[in-house]
Amino acid sequence: MRLSFVLPALVVVVLIGLLGYGLTRNPSELPSALLDQPAPAFSVARLEAPDQLITQEAFAGRVAVFNVWASWCVACRAEHALIEELAERGEVAVYGLNYKDDRTTAMQWLDRYGDPFVASAFDPRGQVGIDYGVAAVPETFIIDAEGIIRFKQVGPVDRETLEQRLLPLVAQLKEEAA
């Protein structure tokens, strides 16, 4: 076994390993710059009550879920039942960020599919969305009692994500806060 034989073989094996690992990764999953950072500040009107303001202070002191949604977003409809289920369990306060939407259409959407949110922030121009690094709706943030973003889901929440990631993390964060 000479080095000139072993070395190329080794390189090929490592390369195959790396490429194989690459196949298991989801290329649309973006690294979030905001993870473990304080939730960005905002102050906008509430969707359901235009004369009331909502700010990031709404999350303060408890674990909160911040779900970015829009009535024009098909994937949001797909995950909506699960977001409702999450809210109904009563484990965590669920807030919405209504992203680049029309107020009337958004309200109709909530009437039709149900409103799981304690409150929704109304962000028709997407400025809050940019501060939260939103690239595509839906996105779901979990914010701990200190106001730090601890999890970000890009794309719709499915049953597996809900039960294996969101709920355990919420339970863990509540324990940390207690």
């Binding site: 290329p27 973006l30 690294p31 710059a33 905001l34 997407g126 940019i130 690094g133 690239a135 595509a136």
Partner: protein
């Protein structure tokens, strides 16, 4: 005439609200440079200069506004990186997370060159024995015959 003017005025005031603020020549140059270096988060392998996605338009608008507000390129890049991560820049800055991107290819090339040279020197040394020239061969044969 008055009507035409006011209609035009209305039209253009509507446009002015949507269009980015006017930039001078140098600022426009910076604007184009910057939007050519920022990745569109929606259609991931294009820059925001190439993309028609609404988010790309928003980011172009924000970059235009920040340039008009006198922010430097670094400040604008920081703004974007804070929100979307280093990944948003097509030319990521050199940092603990990105050094392998910058140095990796050069290191691989160097390793390839070094092993090529080593291999070449080794095989080169044992390749061909020195070719005997005709004269000395003849001389040796003559010596043999004479003795």
């Amino acid at each position: 005439m008055k009507v035409v003017v006011s209609v035009l005025f209305l039209l253009f005031s509507g446009l002015a609200a949507a269009a980015p603020p006017a930039l001078d020549e140098a600022q426009t140059h910076r604007y184009h440079q910057l939007i050519d270096q920022v990745r569109c988060l929606v259609c991931q392998n294009r820059t925001i200069a190439e993309s028609d996605a609404p988010l790309a338009a928003d980011l172009r608008d924000i970059i235009g506004r920040q340039i008009a507000a006198g922010r430097s390129n670094d400040e604008i890049k920081n703004y974007l990186v804070q929100r979307y991560g280093e990944w948003v820049l097509y030319k990521p800055r050199f940092s603990a997370a990105t050094w392998i991107l910058w140095l990796g290819p050069a290191a691989l090339l160097l390793a390839a060159l070094v092993s090529a040279i080593l291999l070449w020197r080794r095989t080169g040394r044992r390749a061909e024995p020195p070719a005997p020239d005709e004269d000395s061969l003849a001389r040796i044969l003559d010596d043999e015959r004479r003795s």
